[in-house]
Amino acid sequence: MGPLIPQGIIPMGWDFVIALLIGIAFGFVLEASGFSSSRNITGVFYGYNFVVLRVFFTAVVVAMIGLQYFDYFGWIDLNQIYVLPTFLSPMIVGAIIMGVGFVLGGFCPGTSYTAIAIGKIDAMVFTGGLFLGIFLFSEFFPFFEQFYYSGNMGSITIGEFFGISNNLVTLIFVVIAVVAFYITWRIELRVRKNMIQYKF
């Protein structure tokens, strides 16, 4: 049955309307969970607020479980889902650069949009930086074009990489998530003891 648009069940013309609606839902959840505050987000690195980890892991786990079940029921064809292709070395470099940018900026692109919506100047500067960064990347693209396309492993899934079924991957992920929830909860209690003022 699904995915609906690639299967032609929903005509292409609705694509942008749906994009807008999905975006609204996404933005609402992000803002309501507190992702519009950079100090909330970076709390995950200093142990005083693990909201990012909680939201992120819960979302990934729920979506993963849902996708596997939907595939089983025949509601969605996992073969037609866009699986992000893996480009090993550029992805490693990119992720490290993003990690530094994350701590410095305190946002990621999606959350910065919601932060702009509630009037954060730092988020506007962040998005400006994002714009500039992508511009710089495209300008200097010829210098690392070869690197950009290196290490192509195709649309490989986690299960395929480790040689196990993706159902098992999901279970492992859930277990890791639950353990992480518990540990971070303990850490947070401890760190918070020393922080009397906590207000965002």
Binding site: P6, N49, V51, V62, G66, Y69, F70, Y72, F73, G74, W75, N79, Q80, I81, Y82, V83, L84, P85, P109, G154, S155, W185, E188, L189
Partner: protein
Amino acid sequence: MHVHELNPKKTMVTMIIFVIVIIIGLVTLSKPRLNYAITPEETVMLAGSEEGFFYPYELEDILNKTIDTIVLVDIRNTFQFGRGHIPGAENISAVELISKENIKRLEALKDAGQVVLIYGNNLVEANGPYMLLRQIGFDNVKVLMGGYSYYNVWKDKLGDSYSDDSYFIGNAQYDYAEVAKGSSVSNNDNDTPEPKANVAVERKKKNKAVEGGC
């Protein structure tokens, strides 16, 4: 713990809705009445072998009743069956072949060690039903080469058809390259480029959505 984390009731409610959706999925998951007994790979093997093919001259034994372990099934429609059929054949048209009763009957025959020999007007007509029955586990099903039309020609001298081989199909009757010289060549304004002879083995293309999704 944050004040907003003290009350996870809403989380529970959404989670339970999610679980209910999954339970609905499990319950409504329709179980197919029939299941494949062999894999696609085995089906390919089956298509490559002639093990399930029954030669017309072998029919003589059935008609002489020297063999009684074979049940003849005519899969053409009743009209065609009425106009003429192999003696002793029963008529189950292809459409009804997998109805509940017929599946039961086929199972009974299989358990009794009987071979079910199906035929249509020709081999190709019976090929689909034959392959399907094989795939859902009836490995006692065979198909008559040449079909009824061949039988009709040779019915008085079935034994002699042993030396005839016109019921063998699947062979090239011409030297195509010679007869149709040029047809494999894009001789005039072919604007589409000639594709490669063999599609290269590529990685599973999951989707062709836009790159750099984020």
